[in-house]
Amino acid sequence: MRSDAAGILSLAVLGLLVMAALAAPLLTPYHYNEGSVTERLLPPFSPGHVLGTDALGRDLLTRIIYGSRVSLLVGAASVLLAGTIGTVIGLLSGYLGGRFDRMVTRIIDAQLSFPFMILALTLAALLGPSLRNVIITLVVSSWVIYARLVRGQVLEEREREYVQAARALGASTARVTFRHLLPNVVPNVIVLASLEVGRMIIAEASISFLGYGIQPPLPSWGKMVAEGKDYLFTAWWISALSGAAIGLTTLCANLAGDWLRDRVGR
């Protein structure tokens, strides 16, 4: 199967990226902030710098490898946190109904009627730029998607026999939701989460690109595209290669997500 091949291949590439991120100090002799301004803007294939150097003489390959830490951490952490929060709230909202449910749906509707980037950007600007705040921003901006999905599914599942049976046997709300409903919504949440990883990585890059995200000298791919923007004429490779790294990672995350979705059969 072709789609299997693409899915497995992209999972393998993602795995390699994760390993590269973890083993960054072993893969490159430099630190991400190390370099001399006397060796700035060297083109790719310069001696000692396979992908060249940036405006401060730092090795671009090193910064791209270290940059994967930020992208993968932001992607994983924001999806994990937003997924968990969204799932729990969605479960409770769908199962309990009533005022809590009305409040939650209000919030979901209100939040979804604003463009995601605007919400994230405003939050990021309010919180101030840092890695932690970017993750918080993305979690706050994206948990509603999971909550909506889970709530919708719970509304269906709630009327099924197995839930009725559990309730008839006197199971508590907590037990019904987490023991019985949760396992049934988790597959869909995982599929959604896998597709969200790519979106979160691009969102972090966009926020950092606009200057409200990761602070220098920590390398973030989006920030590096922005840094290279001032050198498009003289050193186009800074923006081009950093952006290509984002594209490749997001592509793999999306392909893996698609593959997962086909397998779960949604």
Partner: protein
């Protein structure tokens, strides 16, 4: 500003102070007697008289008007008219510097602002300068036309057009493309490349701006120790930054004044670069193990500020001073400076113009922001149509390409067309928008000179922004249409239609498409709404005067009324679009009925 308005006195590029609208000024005791030139007229035709100048100064001095320019002439206590062309200005104390201070006070036609207030000048700027404002579109362009009645004779150039191109690279591409004739601020590393073009010439003049790193001594901490401050100075290798990042296009200054200033003393030697001494001083101060300081820098305000700050941080780290580097948009930085929330170190520039200008800075008042002097909603509504056009075109292009491709891919499921379409859609969906936009600029503007890099001028300036937005939307349409058509193709009614012996073409076009396109309508309005308010990055990269860019700028300037107004407008648009979707559904699909 100086093309439209003029001042009583003027400082030439050589730094010399000359009478301008004034013919002469005499100073005795705490009084200045100023005689105006005769025969000067405002663009409105009204003559420049002592009465008109007094009206300007009175407006500035009136505390009710809260004019930011009041700090320019802080000790003026009164203005009186002696005769038509003579006026007398009284100061609290004898002030020999008043003429220099008045170089920054611009004179406007009092008939515009006397009743309506200074805000009226935004709409109707009337001065005495060589040019009058013909047209002004905020953040986009300003068109000046020669003023026939100018007192020094009609200017040689008929029309001057100022275009706003915030991005340096875009600005230079515009120059090399021949779109513009003059650009300021060429980055040093590009000088050689630009000079290679025979049609372009670079003029370099010594600047008056001193860039330095300030230290906040108002807060207790390591910086209150003199030895730490000295160590910071010894740790820094400013010459290296000048030679590399600025490629020699700067000079080292020992203190805050530049060579053009009368009080400049060339005998003062700057600190030498001596990391060893820095470490020693730190150890003496009890910081042998190093210390950590906050370091704030604006980004994009001064030439290479971002790079210089990072290099400075690296140099400080080499002697054991770790820094938390924080970069800010200029507006945010300014706000922090005002509210005294800048900690420890900060990179900033000081414009060494006159003694008077220094007084202004010491007063700590940067003037009222023009940004706030207009209704937030009016600003949002002014730019909203630009975003709507962009979003509309992008969605249209996406529909035209995405829907047929999606249908074709579904009908020919598994063929190479299908696989190529799905692969292309996945690929497009994974590319960060701002990167695609930058790469298009790199190829089509910087390399090929085919398209303008940004701005909203003429049909060709639409091509790249629309394409950049349409990429992602097209990919979404392809995927949506494909899966929706596939669903319908597998449904019972399709089987029935086929078994009746209908041609496949009829099945697809008459039956399947009609049902499969329902989600497309939802997607269309949804995308229209998203792109309307959400094309933040694309609008920023292409300097498009739209809602997204306004919001990014406003967030940077902490101009929350504008952010709030934008969000409200976007929310309202979403609501309207949802309603439109429902109505369209009801019209095309008789099954849907609303009570």
């Amino acid at each position: 500003m100086r093309n439209v308005y003029e001042s009583l006195f003027f400082r030439t590029t050589d730094g010399e102070l000359v009478p301008w609208l004034a013919e002469s000024g005499d100073f005795s005791g705490n009084q200045w007697t100023i005689r105006l030139r005769q025969g000067i007229t405002f663009h409105s035709g009204a003559e420049l008289t002592a009465e008109a100048v007094k009206a300007n100064l009175d407006y500035i001095l009136d505390p009710d008007n809260a004019a930011g320019t009041q700090t320019l002439i802080p000790d003026v206590t009164g203005v009186e008219v002696v005769d038509t062309y003579t006026l007398r200005i009284t100061t609290a104390e004898p002030n020999p510097d008043l003429a220099a201070q008045l170089t920054d006070v611009l004179i406007a036609d009092p008939s515009v602002f006397a009743e309506a207030g200074a805000e009226a000048l935004n709409e109707n700027p009337v001065g005495t300068g060589p040019y009058r404002v013909e047209r002004w579109q905020r953040d986009t362009e300003l068109v000046l036309a020669a003023y026939e009645g100018y007192w020094q004779g009609r200017p040689a150039i008929d029309r001057v057009i100022f275009r706003v191109i915030p991005d340096t690279q875009a600005r230079l591409a515009a120059l090399l493309n021949g779109e513009v004739d003059l650009v300021p601020g060429v980055p040093p590393e590009m000088i050689a490349q630009i000079e290679a073009d025979p049609a372009v010439r670079i003029e370099e003049v010594p600047g008056r701006q001193v860039i330095y790193v300030g230290m906040n001594l108002m807060r207790p901490g390591p910086l209150s120790d003199r030895r730490v401050r000295q160590a910071l100075n010894y740790a820094v290798d400013a010459d290296l930054i000048i030679d590399t990042i600025l490629e020699g296009h700067a000079t080292r200054n020992a203190a805050g004044l530049t060579a053009i200033n009368a009080a400049y003393d060339p005998a003062i030697e700057p600190y030498r670069h001596d990391p060893e001494r820095a470490r020693q001083l730190l150890a003496e101060a009890g910081y042998a193990g190093g210390l950590t300081l906050d370091f704030h820098t604006p980004q994009g305000r001064y030439l290479k500020d971002y790079e210089a700050a990072q290099e400075l941080a690296r140099q400080l780290e080499a002697v054991g001073i770790r820094t938390n580097l924080q970069t800010h948009e200029w507006g945010t930085f300014l706000e922090m400076a005002r509210s005294h929330t800048i900690t420890d170190l900060y990179l900033i520039g000081l414009s060494d113009r006159t003694f008077a200008a220094r007084r202004l800075v010491l007063h700590g008042d940067f003037g009222t922001s023009l940004r706030q002097s207009e209704s937030a909603l009016a600003r949002v509504l002014e730019v909203a149509p630009n975003s709507l056009i962009l979003a509309g075109l992008a969605v249209l292009v996406s529909l035209l390409i995405g829907v047929p491709t999606g249908v074709l891919a579904a009908v020919r499921r598994g063929s190479w067309i299908d696989r190529a379409a799905v692969a292309a859609a996945t690929l497009l969906q994974s590319m960060p928008n701002f990167w695609v936009a930058l790469m298009m600029i790199l190829v089509f503007s910087v390399r090929l000179h085919w398209l303008p890099t940004g701005g909203m001028r003429g049909p060709e300036s639409y091509v790249m922004p629309v394409a950049a937005l349409a990429f992602l939307t097209t990919a979404r349409f392809v995927r949506l249409v494909r899966s929706s058509v596939l669903d319908e193709l597998g449904s019972d009614y399709t089987r029935t239609a086929r078994s009746k012996g209908l041609a496949e073409r009829v099945v697809v076009f008459k039956h399947v498409l009609r049902n499969a396109l329902n989600p497309v309508i939802t997607m269309t309005t949804l995308q229209l709404g998203t792109l309307f308010g959400g094309s933040v990055v694309t609008e920023t990269v292409f300097a498009w005067p739209g809602l997204g860019r306004l919001m990014v700028d406003s967030i940077g300037y902490r101009d929350y009324p504008v952010v709030l107004a934008s969000v409200t407008v976007i929310g309202a648009t979403f609501a309207v679009l949802n309603l439109v979707t429902d109505v369209i559904y009801a019209v095309i699909n008789p099954v849907v009925r609303y009570e």
